[in-house]
């Protein structure tokens, strides 16, 4: 058990814009537990949970420990036999089952049995640890980022994170997506679980069964020129698996073409509009101006008017 500093935990969590639900899910405890930890001055918690808590808060363990008594303490409240390693048990303490006259035979037999037990226990521990130490299996979840190759500065640019869950169960995911410099978040669906204002990282804690879509839209200043580079990671919540990078598109360059006009021919073709509708058929519709897109498709093309900061549709 270790003693943590409840007020430090709360301060760090609030500074990083994390919810108690996010932290609770990452540590695999209830939100009530997190609340209790934060409200008590120096609660003693399991070291394993303290490590997970530090990981969820993205700090070192020492940063959340009680400064006065940061040395780990032994838990004397719940001593259990199963908690002791089998290998440490002393066979000499096993009460001997002896019969008069057979003492000399029973003792070596007991010693042998004890040795066999120790070897068996050591073997079991070795196999257990070998299994634990093995490289974690790759996650059954894959996340691909879809971002248009170009966008108009000052106009919304949607980014789609398409999740493909190959497992039969719903998977809780922690997703972190770093916003590139020069742009700001307009909206996100599902709503963010947290946002790190220091490095502009968006965070979601979401459960996905089958295929899912996470959408967010960003905007730059109208005079922005250059490219936006996106990066992010995903990790299964409640899992020892390491975080993996989000795949797919990473870069979008400012220009004079609507983001959905992927071939840059100043019109929205049948294929281009179908691609957008296929992508946002579920929850992502709010992130995209579908009316404008359909108007452009219905017309004969469009031009970007920088002085008016608007798209003119050619009828």
């Amino acid at each position: 058990m270790v003693k943590i500093d409840g007020s430090k935990v709360r301060t760090i969590r609030e500074t990083k814009g994390l919810t108690q639900l996010y932290v609770a899910t990452a540590v695999e405890v209830t939100t009530d537990t997190v609340s209790r930890w934060e409200n008590r001055k120096y609660p003693a918690i399991k070291k394993e949970n303290a490590l997970k808590l530090a990981q969820a808060l993205e700090v070192e363990l020492e940063d959340i420990l009680d400064a006065v008594d940061s040395a780990p303490t032994e838990d004397v409240s719940e001593p259990t036999i199963s908690a002791q390693p089998l290998a440490s048990r002393d066979p000499a303490h096993v009460p001997p089952l002896q019969t008069p006259g057979k003492r000399s035979l029973v003792r070596p037999a007991l010693a042998l049995s004890g040795a066999a037990l120790i070897i068996l226990a050591a073997l079991t521990l070795f196999l257990f640890h070998r299994q634990v130490d093995q490289e974690p299996e790759p996650t059954a979840m894959a996340l691909q980022r879809i971002v248009a190759p170009h966008f108009i500065a000052g106009q919304p640019l949607p980014i789609f994170l398409v999740a493909e869950n190959q497992a039969e169960r719903a998977i809780s995911l922690i997703i972190r997506e770093k916003l590139p410099p020069g742009c700001r978040l307009l909206a996100a669906s599902p709503p963010l679980s947290g946002k790190d204002s220091d490095d502009n990282t968006l965070k979601w804690l979401t459960k996905i069964s089958g295929n899912g879509l996470i959408t967010f839209s960003v905007v730059t200043e109208p005079n922005f020129q250059g490219s936006l580079s996106f990066s992010g990671i995903l990790k299964e919540a409640n899992s020892a698996q390491t975080a993996i990078a989000i795949g797919g598109d990473t870069k979008s360059v400012s220009g004079l073409h609507h983001w959905a006009d992927t071939d840059g021919d100043n019109r929205i073709s049948d294929e281009e509009i179908l691609a957008v509708y296929d992508l946002v058929s579920g929850d992502g519709q709010a992130m995209v101006d579908l009316d404008l897109l359909e108007e452009i498709w219905l017309g004969d093309g469009y031009t970007w008017q920088p002085e008016l900061q608007k798209i003119a549709i050619i009828q």
Binding site: E271, L274, D278, S281, W297
Partner: protein, 139 residues
């Protein structure tokens, strides 16, 4: 009378035969298109495109009726369609359609021949997103 059990060899042969039949049948089932269409002329001036959708239904599709160059487009049903003067055709964007039959029509101010009528349905096949073009059969 004791019935003689079937030799293991025959059991293996039967299983192999069943597996072969299933492997032949399965691709046919998978390739069944979820979209089929028929185009026809009604009352000499109304072109109708009948689209049959089966599960899994595409998330969206585009349907198009092309009239002969001489037939002037008067009305469309449903409205809100894209009229392309160059090809004298009408396009509809159908969003989140359900399985079943959809009827789309164009009425011309002029009578025309069914031979010069055509219909097309476009959608993206999942999961690869490739564009599929279904030419409507003529009735």
């Amino acid at each position: 009378m004791v019935k003689k059990p079937m030799p293991p060899f025959f059991i293996i042969v039967i299983f192999a035969a069943c597996a072969c039949c299933l492997s032949l049948l399965e691709p046919a089932a998978c390739q069944a298109a979820p979209v089929s269409a028929t185009v026809y002329l009604q009352n000499g001036s109304k072109a109708v495109l009948e689209i049959n959708l089966a599960n899994p239904v595409p998330a969206s599709l585009i349907a198009q009726i092309a009239l002969p160059p001489t037939a002037r487009i008067a009305t469309t049903s449903p409205g809100g369609a894209k009229i392309e003067r160059g090809s004298n055709s009408v396009k509809w964007l159908l969003k989140n359609p359900s399985a079943g039959t959809i009827y789309l029509s164009v009425t011309s101010a002029d009578g025309f021949d069914q031979k010069s009528l055509s219909g097309v349905v476009l959608f993206r096949r999942q999961p690869d997103g490739s564009l599929v073009k279904v030419n409507a059969k003529k009735r």
